[in-house]
């Protein structure tokens, strides 16, 4: 579904691309990966799903398989153990994919900088599209980060895949 046939006339391609962006922006599916976090960020991500914050009203859904996900939400610094798994989860996700680093740890290694088993922030291993600082960031901040990321998708000119 993600590849638009090459031979189509341009207006068609543009329309299909617009449709894809619309679908993506309105209902991004996210997967959460913990590569060594202290739980603090994880419970705040979980809190965003619960009645007070309720991200599902924006169409954001947290689900289990990387193969169904558009957005990878990462928490925690990358430990040597989790490094390969993080890469693998990222590789399993279909294109286009976006990565959000939640928390100071995911952004830079945070308080764990210098610990022997910590490789640093998420961007040491995979490319990151959005950073949400805070230790842990408030649920509102997490939602704001996701919404901003989606906003930036919308602004982008729909690119024609070759």
């Amino acid at each position: 579904m993600s590849n638009i046939p090459a031979g189509l006339p341009k207006p068609w391609t543009n329309m299909l691309n617009g449709l894809k962006t619309w679908a993506r922006v309105n209902s991004p599916w996210a997967i959460h990966f913990n590569s060594g976090s202290c739980n603090g960020c994880d419970i705040e991500i979980l809190a965003t799903l619960t009645p007070r914050f309720d991200v599902e009203r924006f169409g954001i859904k947290l689900q289990g398989s990387p193969r169904h996900a558009d957005v990878l939400i990462c928490t925690g610094p990358v430990t040597t153990q989790a490094r390969d798994r993080l890469k693998r989860v990222y590789d399993q996700m279909p294109e286009p994919k976006f990565v959000i680093a939640v928390g100071s740890c995911a952004t830079s290694g945070g308080v764990f900088q210098g610990c022997y088993n910590v490789a640093g922030g998420i961007d040491q291993v995979i490319p990151v599209n959005a950073y949400i600082p805070g230790c842990p960031p408030r649920p509102e901040a997490i939602i704001d980060g996701v919404v901003k990321l989606l906003g930036s998708l919308q602004e982008k000119k729909p690119e024609v895949k070759k």
């Binding site: 060594g36 202290c38 739980n39 603090g40 153990q81």
Partner: protein, 379 residues
């Protein structure tokens, strides 16, 4: 086919798995749907915190240790602070102790409610999950009025606390607890009477008193099996002597009892917090604390929401700790999952696992490096 009979079927779960919020790897050997043996592998979130403390000074180490676990963060920093204060022979003033204790009990409420939600979610009981997390926000609000932070409050400093209990906090605590108490009665009713819930929990993950003793279970998991073990009572710290809690015990040791015990403990916590707020000692919040801690070793034990927490702290007389050793409760309870899941249906395993309130970030205190020939990465 001959030989097929003997083959085992192993179901691997994790490290990244929808039922687990944190990475761990389980292998369940199954015969049909029944689990015949289980094993676990940890270490995905091992960060090297204990070693990390040795390169930080005492105050910095406390902030690092607070981040061992985001759910029970305050108990880690309090235990460390208490230990270091014992080494330095500079105790924190009584008002600071009381505030620490209030925060500890608030933390227990938030942790247990979180667990009620997660465990209900594993049982497929989404409504209770949403309810308990909604009500948990009340505690989060209280914690926020205290410290401005929802999760890692960093309320402790060595020799005291940073935040005072003013009228705003007292007010939010009183109102919040009234509301929570009412809700908890409702949860208690649900876990004792809802038919579909009882079917999922009664008799599942059973652990007898003898088993609990043998497997070394602690915390609410053990107390649900009628093992009276609670460090708040057994070796009181802070102001638990003046404001004691009563141990809540269950008798059957199945999942349903664990629900009941945990909810009952919350009533205890609420009572203690109310008493503390009403009779809080006056005085300073901090004392002057030395930069260097005299040489020596100390052991500090406290009761975290999941069970006994153990700290060993060694000072060489300098500005950094020489050795900090932490033993967290979750690891002790894991044996009960591995033993308890044998004989159960595979579908019950997530319930049994969540029954001990597992927390992996504090488990992963060690790493076994095994380099296989030809492989670059350690596993």
């Amino acid at each position: 086919m001959p030989g097929l009979q003997k083959e085992k079927f192993i179901v691997p779960i994790g490290p990244q798995h929808p039922a687990l919020k944190e990475p761990a790897h389980f292998e369940f050997t199954v015969d049909g749907e029944t689990v015949t043996s289980a094993s676990v592998r940890f270490g995905y979130v091992h960060r090297g915190i204990e070693k990390g403390t040795e390169n930080r000074n005492w105050a910095q180490a406390m902030y690092l240790l607070e981040r061992i676990c985001g759910i029970c963060s305050h108990v880690h920093s309090t235990t460390f602070a208490l230990g270091v204060e014992k080494l330095a022979k500079v105790p924190a003033p009584p008002r600071a102790q009381a505030i620490r204790q209030i925060l500890l009990e608030l933390e227990r409420i938030h942790s247990h409610m979180l667990w009620v939600g997660v465990a209900a979610h594993e049982a497929g009981f989404e409504t209770l999950f949403m309810y308990s997390w909604r009500d948990r926000e009340t505690v989060m609000d209280i914690l926020e009025t205290f410290s401005g932070n929802r999760v890692n409050y960093s309320a402790n400093v060595l020799g005291g606390v940073k935040y005072d209990l003013g009228p705003a906090q007292t007010d939010s605590i009183k109102r919040g607890l009234d509301y929570l108490e009412e809700r908890l009665h409702y949860y208690m009713k649900i876990v004792n009477s809802d038919e579909s819930f009882l079917r999922r929990t009664r008799g599942v993950g059973m652990m007898t008193t003898a088993q609990a003793e043998e497997l070394g279970a602690i915390g609410p998991t053990a107390r649900a099996s009628n093992v009276a073990r609670d460090l708040r009572v057994d070796s009181p710290y802070l102001l638990y002597e003046q404001f004691p809690v009563t141990i809540v015990l269950g008798s059957t040791g199945d999942l349903q009892t664990r629900f009941v015990v945990r909810i009952q403990e919350l009533f205890e916590s609420i009572r203690v917090i109310r008493e503390l707020v009403n009779h809080i000692p006056g005085g300073d919040l901090t004392v002057r604390f030395p930069r260097r801690i005299p040489e020596g070793e100390v052991v500090m034990r406290t009761e975290a929401p999941r069970g006994g927490l153990f700290y060993f702290i060694k000072s060489g007389g300098g500005e950094n700790p020489v050795r900090v050793k932490v033993r967290t409760p979750s690891l002790r309870n894991f044996m009960s999952v591995l033993v308890g899941s044998v004989g159960h249906q595979l579908a019950d395993v997530p319930m049994i696992l969540s029954g001990i309130d597992p927390c992996f970030s504090c488990n992963d205190r060690m790493i076994v490096v095994r380099r296989e020939p030809g492989k670059e990465t350690a596993s």
